[in-house]
Subunit: 143 residues, 2 copies
């Protein structure tokens, strides 16, 4: 469903979402929280930064932080960063080459329903919905 790298990325963003508004969190801290290899995580954090999902700050007290609010980042946004350049939906189930829209393979309709359905679910799911806080409404008041 998601590559291991993409999972690390989602988990890292969730950690940063929980620190949203506070000081940046260093790669080392995130790695130790997640139990993930530090330098490997560094690469994924770099990719997320380049995509504009995170911001980075060097030097003492530096680290990573969300570039936007937790509810404005979807799981699909993160998955896209580590996805194949050729989208899975284009490749069809019965043929590796992309289906010609005029003459799609006999599995095309069903298969795109499945893959695009999962993709749509990930697009509807925001990081704010995953971190156990009510980011979607108000940060302070929870009855």
């Amino acid at each position: 469903m998601l590559s291991r790298t993409a999972k690390y990325a989602v988990r890292a963003v969730v950690v940063l979402a929980r620190h949203y508004g506070k000081r940046p969190v260093s790669a080392g801290e995130i790695a130790s929280i997640l139990g993930a290899p530090r330098n490997y995580l560094s690469k994924t954090l770099l990719a997320l930064t380049r995509r504009g999902i995170l911001t980075s700050a060097r030097g003492p007290g530096g680290g990573y932080a969300l570039a936007v609010a937790p509810h404005a980042i979807s799981v699909a946004d993160i998955a896209d960063v580590f996805a194949d350049p050729m989208p899975e939906a284009a490749r069809c189930l019965l043929d590796d080459s992309p289906c010609d829209p005029k003459h799609p393979c006999s599995a095309h309709r069903r298969w795109t329903e499945i893959t695009l359905g999962a993709r749509a679910s990930m697009r509807r799911t925001a990081i704010g919905n995953l971190c156990g806080e009510t980011w979607t409404t108000s940060v302070v008041g929870r009855p």
Copy 2:
């Protein structure tokens, strides 16, 4: 979504569905139709046979055939053969270890909705729906 091996398996089963009721199809024929490596495909066909999805016959004129009708085999049935022993649904998004049902991780509900949704779609999709024939109703009459 599906491993390459699982895709080969689905394609092979679709080929066999199109020959359903006729003579068995040899591994070599299937491999040449699919453009897949013969010996590698052989392993997947063997696995499908052991799982009871296919039947095999040796000797001249032998080969593989569906053990049941095309509409009785789902894509999920085939995917299961090559899936991890530990189901993807059990592992959660935020933690590799399975979530305790009493205290699931904060992403548990959303994530299981996504993964189980995709899985359910594959379970609802029969091979007969993928091979461009109207197996679901009648074999002979198509207006």
